[in-house]
């Protein structure tokens, strides 16, 4: 019973980090109608950013987090400038390919800067455990869940209840209409890339303490985000978060019962089965088929 609760908590913590990855992915997807395949590599870059920063500034992760997010937002703008804006008049698959190229650059850039070894970022708070009755909870897991919840809810708040959020949503829903209403759509798209990258940076910081990082980690993460968005309904923000939690729980439980390999294989198998049985995704599509 206690181990089961422990397992679920670990799963939710992993899911919270995945949710941030998927959230950044789906925001950009909605804004530009194209897959940002570099999202996983941006998470990896954020993790390395946190690890490097911690080398200069021996501060707890929670202090470094905003700095990493800010730096990543700038990187996000660079990604938009390199991989999206030059391809405005081209089909969405061109952006898919250009972001694959960006991912390749980030991944191999990290490989040459940091080598293939494992890295870890500082914990958000100090390490150790909190005890809650008979449960011993890792502080880091609790912190990850808390930070991810704040960011997910914050994103929701901004998008639902602020003028800027309404402009961002209008741009994602119908770019031409938004432009006609006087919204600076390209500015909004650039901002979306920045937010997506900042969320990737947060996810990287959170993941890089618990699970370590390698330069090639991004490939796995983008696949998880992609699957989360398919499960949650293509283009649905809430669905992406939910999908990420489901994937992480599935992985954690199956990995504990069988092995990590079995968990991955079953996850990919299940995804293929879902696509075969429901070509429109598990919960239908929120976004039009633009990508």
């Amino acid at each position: 019973m206690i181990t089961a609760a422990q397992l679920v908590l670990d799963g939710v913590a992993l899911g919270a980090a995945y949710a941030l990855v998927a959230l950044g992915f789906v925001l950009v997807l909605n804004a530009v109608g194209a897959v940002n395949f570099a999202q996983g590599d941006l998470v990896m870059a954020g993790g390395y950013g946190a690890a490097v920063l911690a080398g200069f500034l021996p501060l707890p992760g929670i202090v470094l987090l905003p700095v990493v997010m800010l730096l990543m937002a700038i990187l996000g703008l660079a990604v938009a400038a390199l991989a999206y804006f030059p391809l405005l008049r081209r089909p969405p698959s061109a952006v898919f390919i250009s972001t694959i190229a960006i991912g390749l650059l980030l991944q191999n850039g990290a490989l040459h800067l940091f080598g293939p070894g494992l890295r870890s970022a500082p914990p958000l708070w100090s390490g150790g455990q909190v005890t809650l009755g008979a449960l011993a909870l890792s502080r880091q897991s609790v912190a990850i869940i808390a930070v991810a919840a704040v960011l997910v809810l914050g994103q929701r708040l901004v998008f639902r209840h602020t003028r800027l959020g309404r402009q961002l949503r209008a741009t994602a829903a119908d770019r031409e209409m938004a432009a006609a209403l006087g919204i600076r759509v390209y500015g909004m798209i650039a901002l979306t890339f920045a937010i997506g990258a900042a969320l990737a940076g947060a996810a990287g910081t959170l993941l890089a303490n618990q699970f370590f990082l390698t330069p090639t980690e991004g490939g796995n993460l983008i696949l998880k985000a992609y699957i989360a968005v398919v499960i949650g309904g293509w283009g649905s923000i809430e669905g992406a978060v939910l999908g990420a939690l489901l994937i992480a729980l599935f992985e954690t439980v199956v990995a504990a019962a069988l092995s990590y390999t079995a968990a991955s294989a079953l996850l990919y198998g299940a995804t293929l089965a879902i696509l075969f049985l429901r070509p429109q995704g598990l919960l239908g599509e929120a976004a039009g088929r633009r990508a």
Binding site: V35, L82, A83, P86, L87, R90, P92, S93, A94, F96, I97, S98, I100, A101, I102, G103, L104, L105, Q107, N108, G109, H112, G219, L223, Y226, I227, V230, W234, T261, S264, A265, Y268, G269, T271, L272, L275, F276, P279, G281, R289, A291
Partner: protein, 598 residues
């Protein structure tokens, strides 16, 4: 006439042929006289990558589907070769065909569910497939050698005679490459290549001319897997070791980079992309170890600056805009269809809802051979919905459709077009990158069953046959007074020009019933008169026509009957003269602005 056309038009230009011969000679000279043993190995490996890219061009370049499984198919070819060759001691004549067959079989197995996915799901599904294959290889125990893989892949041996590595192996690999290039050329040079252009350019355009999209995509997917298997097998023989690296993502992205950088639909692009990227780290020493970084930068630069790749750039600079191919126009063979009875179309109770809105409410339409039915109604009255339901571009919620007695409700748009119910679109749907003549010619070829792998292998889509088909296509364009636009890219046509090309394309399919959605919009007075005369003549020949039009001055004189729609309902139906005076029609068109009842 045909010979004259061939000389100006599509035969490979002498310059291009000479370039191929010179390039091949230089490559052979380099391999024989200059290359070191190591450089020969690099060149041999480059050959395997050319093959990989030639295959990827089918699915990614021609079919326009972003498959991320090409690396997996390549790895499977390599593993089959290693397992059968190293572990079981089978020889090349057995392992090579099996290395091609295994990935092809896997592609065939997953094709049915995977190929119907839209692009972003297709990319994910193929990526997931590649991950499953990778996991299987890493965890395959003794069979796959786990993470370490399998070493000691034997040299290529046939009937006890072993092909030495070095120049003989390089020669064999490049002979296979040449065969692969020849096959690819054969399959894509003619109108079948044009059919793939329609397929990736505009799905609606492909449906409208009755192209069997699933089948074309299936063929491309299987070909890409087969080529990848051959490439993997040969690379296993070249390197001698196969590990899970052959299945990892870098193989896939390198293949993608080579294809995009070289050019995704031109055969020269496969050669340029693969040779360049394999040799880049050899030429530029400082790139050693940074190859993937350089590939990423080159891929980004290519997708932004040269979307058609290096081969596209070369083709553009080498051939200044050529004089258009001018086959002498040919009329279509006589189109009178016998045995049609007196009903071409009988549609009953057609109903369509969008959300809560009733777009069409129990509409009946019938048409006899030689009859021209006009459809009128204000914007949003359901005219285009009616055309969509009849032609399979939307599915009716209720109602029956019979074309010459044959039920059509369950047929898809392409099958309906093949059955003889053909349409044009209100917003023209033409493949942007094809020239107008090609767009019509591919439709004609589709009608004559001259596109597809079988037709290309049999040579039914090239040479004399193609010249004949293009001559007929030009004949159709001339009939509409649009022969002048024949050499222009469809993307550059004005809406009025595109509309005429669409009508020519529809006629190329020899329809039994032709539905035109606002054919006269944007035309000048002269063109309008010519179009009216043509439609009357077509009806006189026995073609049934349904013409949706706002312009009463155009429509009423040529229509036999007119059906007026408003808010999804038939409000009037009868001879043009009655319709002109019909109070409900007058109210629907003019009355509502004042807001009073008729």
């Amino acid at each position: 006439m045909t010979a004259a056309f061939l000389d100006t038009g599509h035969r490979p230009r002498r310059g291009a042929a000479a370039a191929w011969v010179i390039a091949a000679a230089l490559l052979a000279l380099y391999a024989i006289a200059f290359a070191s043993r190591y450089e020969l190995r690099v060149l041999t490996f480059a050959g395997t990558q050319v093959l990989l890219v030639l295959g990827y061009q089918f699915v990614f370049g021609h079919a326009g589907a972003l498959s991320l499984a090409q690396g997996a198919f390549y790895g499977i070819g390599a593993y089959v070769t290693a397992i059968l060759g190293a572990s079981y001691g089978w020889s090349f004549p057995l392992t090579f065909p099996l290395a091609i067959a295994a990935p092809t079989a896997l592609a065939a197995l997953v094709a049915a569910p995977v190929l119907r996915l839209s692009s972003h799901y297709f990319a994910l599904a193929t990526l997931g497939l590649a991950q499953v294959v990778l996991l299987a290889a890493v965890n395959g125990g003794e069979l796959t050698g786990g993470a370490l893989g399998i070493s000691g892949v034997p040299s290529i041996a046939v009937l006890g005679w072993t092909l030495p590595r070095g120049l003989p192996l390089a020669t064999l690999v490049w002979v296979v490459v040449a065969l692969g290039a020849w096959l690819s050329h054969r399959l894509t040079r003619g109108l079948s290549g044009g059919a793939y252009g329609v397929l990736r350019g505009d799905a609606m355009a492909a449906d409208a001319i009755g192209l069997d999209r699933p089948r074309l995509r299936f063929a491309a997917f299987l070909l890409s897997a087969g080529y990848a298997g051959a490439a993997g097998a040969l690379s296993a023989h070249t390197i001698g070791v196969v590990s899970s690296e052959a299945l990892e993502f870098p193989v896939m992205v390198t293949c993608l980079a080579m294809t995009v950088i070289g050019g995704s639909t031109r055969i020269a692009g496969a050669f340029l992309g693969a040779l360049l990227l394999v040799h880049l780290p050899e030429w530029l020493r400082f790139l050693q170890g940074y190859a993937l970084l350089a590939y990423g930068a080159a891929l980004l630069a290519a997708i932004i600056l040269a979307p058609e790749g290096i081969a596209g750039l070369l083709a553009r600079t080498a051939s200044r805009p050529r004089p258009p191919a001018r086959p002498a126009p040919l009329p279509l063979p006589s189109r009178r269809v016998a045995g049609w009875g007196d009903s071409v179309l009988e549609a009953r109770g057609l109903t369509k809802r969008f959300g809560g809105i009733l777009a069409l409410a129990a509409v009946d339409v019938t048409l006899a051979p030689g009859e021209l039915l006009g459809i009128i109604g204000p914007n949003g009255s359901g005219k285009t919905t009616l055309a969509n339901l009849l032609t399979g571009f939307a599915v009716a919620d209720a109602g029956t459709i019979r074309l010459a007695g044959r039920p059509l409700e369950d047929a898809d748009a392409a099958a309906i077009a093949r059955a003889g119910l053909v349409r044009s679109f209100q917003t023209p749907a033409l493949p942007p990158d094809l020239c107008a003549l090609e767009a019509v010619a591919v439709a004609r070829a589709s009608r004559l069953a001259c596109v597809g792998i079988g037709a290309a292998l049999a040579g039914r889509d090239a040479g004399e046959r193609r010249a004949q088909i293009e001559a007929e296509a030009l004949g159709l364009l001339s009939q509409l007074g649009a022969q002048g636009v024949a050499p222009r890219r469809c993307a550059e046509l004005s809406p009025a020009e595109a509309r005429l090309v669409e009508i020519a394309r529809a006629l190329a399919l020899e329809p039994r019933l032709l539905i035109l959605d606002e054919p006269a919009a944007g035309l000048g007075d002269g063109e309008r008169r010519d179009l009216a005369a043509l439609l009357t003549a077509l009806a006189h020949d026995g073609l049934a026509l349904m013409v949706i039009e706002h312009d009463m001055e155009f429509l009423l004189p040529i229509a036999d009957r007119v059906l007026a729609l408003d808010q999804g309902r038939v409000i009037a139906h009868g001879a043009p003269a009655e319709i002109r005076r019909h109070p409900a029609v007058i109210a629907a068109y003019f009355g509502r602005a004042e807001g009073d009842a008729p």
